[in-house]
Each structure stands twice: as structure tokens, then as C-alpha cells.
Subunit: 78 residues, 2 copies
């Protein structure tokens, strides 16, 4: 089964670095990675929150949130 | 060129989850992943610190540190 990963970010420098170095490092044979910019796609904020995301950048893998360093609090993106 | 990733942890539940879900998700064709338990390998604390690691679990990719959630402060492992 292919795993589902969603990388949530807000375009911040910390986010860009995490996307380039970490989100894009996942094995494409096993992981389908979706990149979501929460500043542009505000309709996805609720998805991120319900997955337990509290800050960006964050990577949600099979429903589990991993916060990577700290760019911005989710509350500040509303 | 194959990239070098070092996953630093301390055996905590947050660390184990990050190792299983994130460190092992990296593409083995592009990344060589080393797993370092800083509780067992205290001699590696200095390496982690000089890479900028402040807490575990953390993944250092090509020298850049990514802190993943929060398990323990590096200072508490000394």
C-alpha cells in the first residue's frame, strides 16, 4: 500500500527549507506527498487542525503529525 | 551523489514514532540514514550539537538540522 503524506507550510523560509530537504526526501515508491500552502489554501486549515497540526512546517504521514522546526503557528494563519 | 542523513534520538516514545514514520520513509536510493541513540552513544552528543541539534528526535540532512516534534532537550541527555 502506498502511504499518504501531506506537507503543510506557509511559504516561510523555514518551510521552504523543510520542503526541499525533508518532504522531497521521502521515497516516491512508497509515499505519495501532497504539498499544501495554508496561506493560499485556507480551506485546508481545518484538515490540518484535525490531523493535530499546530504549527508549520508539518508533515502528516498516514494521519500522524510531525512538526518540523518552527515557522509559524497555525493560529496565526487564520 | 547520495545524501547523508543522521537521525538522533533518545529512545523516547516520540522518538520511536518519528523513526518509524519519518526517518524510515526517506528514499534509500538517495539517502543513507544513520540512526544514533544519544543515550547509548554519548560520544555523539558533540556531533549533534555542532550540527545545531537542540532536542530529539532530530534529523540532520546534509548538515542541516530538522527538529521533529519534541521528545527531550539535548541538554537533558548530558
Amino acid at each position: 500500500m502506498r502511504h499518504k503524506a501531506v506537507f503543510y507550510h506557509a511559504g516561510c523560509p523555514v518551510c521552504v527549507e523543510a520542503e526541499q530537504q525533508l518532504a522531497q526526501a521521502l521515497d516516491p515508491a512508497r509515499y505519495e506527498v501532497e504539498i499544501v500552502h495554508l496561506g493560499d489554501a485556507r480551506g485546508r486549515l481545518a484538515d490540518a487542525e484535525s490531523a493535530g497540526v499546530r504549527s508549520v512546517p508539518a508533515l502528516v504521514i498516514d494521519g500522524q503529525p510531525f512538526h518540523i522546526n518552527f515557522g509559524a503557528a497555525l493560529a496565526d494563519l487564520r
